[in-house]
Symmetry: D2
């Protein structure tokens, strides 16, 4: 079944809120997201600032202990401008360099939807102009966290959240452990582009048209979000410091290789030791995100 749903309400926490739509495994949803500052496709304030979420989507039959797979079919910027913050965050640089950082203020980018580029003109900066190509992604994606918690979209955890991982693009699938009945899936915080780490605290924040398909897998023990791209399988870990996020991601990837790909931990050690790849999601938020990846051409069959 296919749903086209334009949100009228938003949430700034991942939590067990009333569903905005009930869907079933196999369904396709076409919806949209406001930008991180709460501005919609017309540029007007439609939601409370701070990564407002579209959702939750209630997935029929989803129960704690299941895996919710989300295939992202499209993430398309839908207006002619975006915003970023102007300065690297102080905790990203050496302490003795903090005084050299610029003021953090909001700047506006012109977006050309036809060429797929965003351009900043900032007379306060040197150079004054910067153009980057679109690489559209979702900063926030996830499900309701465990035990009735409601957790700010400023951070992330086992349930996903504000991970700001550049690889969360159209064409990939991403899975979450289900903690609440119906899974309660959310999306938001679209970026036309973003550097690794989201070190200024934003990508190019823009409203998006988003399409995704959900698939439910019953009784799959995953502890952290997992992804499948054309080339890689990826496990995500969210925590501070980076070291701990990396531990979570690495451990989840080993578990996955052992349960689904025929490895034992010795075989997985050999493979990861010589072929593992790490990506860094955000290092800006309270919890950071690390991705542990293995190229599919290393995997059997």
């Amino acid at each position: 079944m296919e749903h086209t749903f334009e949100p009228a309400t938003y949430h700034n926490n991942f939590g067990s809120y009333d569903p905005i739509l009930r869907i079933s495994s196999g369904d396709l949803v076409r919806t949209s997201t406001a930008d991180a500052f709460g501005n919609g496709r017309e540029g007007d304030l439609v939601a409370k600032p701070g990564n407002p979420l579209t959702g939750p989507f209630f997935v029929e039959d989803a129960e704690p202990g299941d895996e919710l797979v989300v295939l992202i079919e499209a993430i398309v910027p839908n207006r002619d401008h975006g915003y970023t913050m102007s300065g690297v965050a102080p905790h990203i640089v050496d302490g003795d360099f903090v005084n050299e950082l610029p003021t953090r203020s909001k700047v506006r980018w012109a977006v050309d939807l036809s060429s797929g580029t965003a351009t900043l003109n900032d007379e306060l900066a040197e150079p004054t102009t910067l153009t980057v190509a679109f690489a559209p992604m979702l900063g926030c994606i996830g499900v309701a966290p465990p035990a009735g918690q409601a957790i700010s979209t400023a951070t992330s955890g086992r349930y996903g959240g504000n991970m700001d991982y550049r690889a969360v693009t159209a064409g990939v699938s991403i899975s979450f452990p289900v903690f609440a009945p119906g899974a309660l899936f959310f999306v938001g915080d679209g970026h036309a582009a973003q550097g690794d780490g989201e070190i200024v605290g934003t990508g190019i924040e823009i409203s998006m048209d988003v399409s995704f398909r959900v698939e439910l897998r019953k009784n799959v023990e995953l502890r952290w979000p997992r992804m499948n791209t054309e080339t890689h399988i990826i496990a995500l870990g969210n925590a501070r410091p980076v070291d701990q996020a990396l531990q979570h991601a690495t451990t989840e990837l080993i578990r996955w290789l052992c349960t689904d790909y025929g490895y034992d931990t010795r075989g997985a050690s050999h493979l990861l030791g010589q072929a593992l790849e790490y990506d860094i999601g955000n290092v800006f938020d309270p919890a950071y995100t690390v991705a542990a990846k293995i190229a599919k051409n290393h995997l059997p069959g």
Copy 2:
């Protein structure tokens, strides 16, 4: 000038030792490295285990405050076998998963120099066979550290060291701040291949034929190693935890953009915010390594 130099002695610290060869800016050196376990091209023990270094090479006129640029021309495995350790290190996984890790022991890989592949047969692992393609790199590269220090090849710092960064391959250049007269350059710890993080504590450890050219730049203030590849400029940071290595690398990249590429910190923030890339070197050693990169197609001119 070109030098062909086969080492007879090795060092297991980066330090101000007597030079094995005196060279000048512009010179090419053809030499070789023993593997991390001290085994040379014949497979026999030629050096004390623990990342023995070939060096130091004394670069004429190099003084503290200069930049030593090293262009790596070749890193070529020169024997038919290599070694890895069999288990992911405990500090790389979640605490409650440590008990599931395999024993850490040394295993031998067969190396096929003609096809450029390494193959492990390990009856204790599942699967029992793994083949990976060569991606030869140097785990240890750097100069004598400041103030007469002598620091184990187990770790790294501003002077380089045991960074285990996969991008240290033939065809790149890597620069170090000079701390001692002559710079006192060292290489070692070659890997036929290695995953990000070097999470088993080794790449495929093998002896190498190594060629490099040095170039001296007087009075260049760099604080951390920097690299130039065909596609990127890269700043490296070495510290624990990952967060601090990342701070060093990011700060160095911003400084570099400001001194050499016409950016101010606001312009650099805009660029890095939307185009920065991070790589992870090793997360096994006392000091970890993070690389902050920017693609050259983003840079002016």
Copy 3:
């Protein structure tokens, strides 16, 4: 006014739940807490395990931007037994020592209320007997977090939470920033005794009779919990890793010295540099707790 209130319901999150009692600034409350496993004064299961909280107490007139001061008058174990976990958590020791840790299981301590001691007999341990004197404290104390969040009692933040700080005893006052109307104050997770760090994941978990008095201060900008003891002023920081918790606590203490005690940051630097004391709360939970303290005899007037 004085209230005697025996809870019938509990919460396992700090959040904006319906108040169990409405109180006013100056009021005294006598209540009780179940232990971390959900067992009450009779030893029976009265609440869901996982640090069930007594509360929330709604404080009349409390608004976001205020300071809620809580004077703890009594924390008294009220039954003849408690529980601990038997093993140091794996993330507290070196990775290569994890395999030597004992199994983590729940063990029961006999509590002698008249002598104020707890005794463990554990035939699986060497030595088999351990007796410790009471040092009663509350592991969980805090208010509703910002923006409608509901956050597990497994962790902590600016709102307080599961800090497991040994100095939270009878006779001290502890303050929290108010984030929700009525502040919504909670207490729970009483320990008859506990080591620094709560490194086995528990103190001696026991139900408690608790008395406290609240006082409201309007429009006081505190960012983190603060304490007053007979001898010290204390600022608390909650985060991972320890380093970040320590940054929060130190910064809050400097701010406090500057706003309330006549220091500027240079004067505060001189004082803290030579007289600062740090304590560690828990290093077991997702967020760790560090206390930055200064003895009152160093303060003016």
Copy 4:
């Protein structure tokens, strides 16, 4: 035997340098230390700045694998002034507070040897005057590190080093693993007083008269420095971040309880869980220091 030895040379690294004096187990040494800035008892520059060390003292018969016990008999400030730095280091506070920190410059304290106090008058600070009582300690203490390394007195490790732990006072004993023949013991960096963490980067830096007695224990496997005070046994860990220093200290204390006090790891877990104490040495240097302590009244016999 007793030695009175006034140093004429100093070292700024812990390393295997030529001994300044050969001593034997049981001997007492009376010597002195320059301050961290290289100034001696007359206030003149006698050594290179940056924690110059008095030493090394060669202990006859000390071999790798032994334990060197040092009983500190006296640490006495020997001149009428000391120095501190004026500002909390940026990495000790929140990133968004760095811009509020004062400039870091060197300030001079007047020292009254008869009353045992140090007084700062600083017209740039508010308040302008601060007096603190002496609590003399040594910031640097340790032996030559392993494998011929020479490591800056800016940092620390298994060999001790620049730990800046307030409890290193007269009356305690402190032990180090021996890594080099003769152990090669060093002392330096005396502080008339210091706050936990050494967060301005200095204690009250002053030259000292120091007396210590050494005792050699053959074949004792200790991995980190250990201390004995009148009231506690203490294990030290040195690393970054704090979390890792804490892991080292905790692990070492458990090992010690198991080898010397009749505990197994389950018994040690029970004890530490309810009675462990943590102290923080410095959090300023490249490696931080954490002390894990247990009161002797908890120990058998």
